[in-house]
């Protein structure tokens, strides 16, 4: 019972997920960098679980390596869901 991953709803889920792990809502945008949002590696693990629960897309450790902005993760999830 997962949702189809399209850019709009992936963005919504990831923005909400970032809030859930403690990022400041006003700072969250596609361009925002995880470091500036104070989102660390454990937060990203949790975000990956949120994405998996919602869209059935599994992000492994290597997938997230090198990704620095929120938009990059959104694009990756949409791409992996195709």
């Amino acid at each position: 019972m997962t949702t189809k991953a399209e850019t709009g709803n992936v963005e919504k889920v990831i923005f909400e997920g970032l809030e859930e792990v403690g990022a400041e809502p006003n700072d969250i945008s596609r361009e925002a960098e995880f470091e500036a949002l104070d989102v660390d590696s454990l937060d990203l693990v949790e975000l990956a679980q949120i994405v998996e629960d919602e869209f059935g897309v599994r992000l492994e450790g290597d997938d997230l390596k090198g990704l620095t902005t929120v938009g990059q993760v959104i694009d990756l999830v949409v791409k992996k869901a195709e």
């Binding site: 454990l42 693990v45 949790e46 679980q49 949120i50």
Partner: protein
């Protein structure tokens, strides 16, 4: 009627190697604490069914999960099915363990690998699978059943000692990684406990134990139950020795 779970989120408990001994005692204890308990077993289906029946007769809920903990795919499926039926696994007790003893010069690769795979690598894979839902739930308790063999020597058990010492090291590190999400990871280190697992060992070593007796599965289970409880929220990364004073 089971006790209130003290405001813990919805979910269930999974005990590997739960058909007898320490695992069975833990399963019964967690059910008493109000948890739906999944009892994993490899071969002893009668034992597992008996434990589940005891739990049901006492008013609790238990479910059976057949499978060798080394079979990663099967266990992954088991997790997924538990999650859909009972919610996330919020308590994981990595209890399944085997021995295959021999003095090091004669200890074969097969005995080494089987013991390390079952006692250590499988526990890691179970832990990894359980963690993400626990992080998301902001609640989790993982208890690894180690042994005083590992920190201490026991001739003839190089493989077992390595696996159990590894489990203790893994416990510490994973605990540190996830502590701020209210997920705790601890170990217990039993000494000589009266179970089928140790029936060929009893006897001459009792004199060395300050308590002058072997422990019972229930005495070890009580410690695991505490570490798995909401009350143990500030205990993480530790190993609780349960050995009648043997390593004091």
């Amino acid at each position: 009627m089971s006790r209130e779970r003290n405001g813990t989120p919805e979910g269930c408990a999974l005990v590997t190697g739960g058909s007898r001994g320490i695992g069975a005692a833990v399963a019964r204890g967690l059910a008493e604490d109000g948890w739906t308990v999944a009892i994993n077993y490899r071969s002893d289906s009668d034992g597992a069914a008996a434990v589940a029946k005891e739990i049901a007769d006492a008013g609790g809920t238990a479910t059976l999960v057949e499978g060798d903990v080394r079979d990663a795919d099967a266990l992954n499926e088991a997790f997924t099915s538990l999650e859909s039926e009972h919610g996330p696994v919020l308590i994981l007790v990595n209890n399944a363990g085997i021995r295959d003893d021999g003095l090091s010069p004669q200890l074969g690769d097969d005995a080494w690998e089987r013991v390390v795979d079952t006692n250590l690598s499988a526990a890691f894979r179970m832990t990894r699978r359980a963690l993400r839902p626990m992080l998301r739930a902001r609640y989790g308790r993982i208890v690894n059943v180690a042994s005083i063999v590992g920190p201490r020597a026991n001739a003839g058990q190089a493989n077992y000692a390595a696996s159990k010492a590894g489990l203790i090291g893994m416990t510490r590190t994973v605990a540190v990684e996830v502590a701020r999400r209210n997920v705790t990871v601890n170990a217990v280190a039993p000494g000589l406990v009266e179970t089928k697992f140790t029936e060929d060992l009893n006897g001459d070593s009792l004199g060395e134990i300050p308590a002058r007796r072997a422990g019972t599965p229930e005495e070890v289970a009580a410690c695991i139950r505490f570490l798995a409880s909401p009350e143990a929220s500030y205990v993480t990364g530790t190993t609780l020795t349960v050995d009648g004073g043997l390593s004091a």
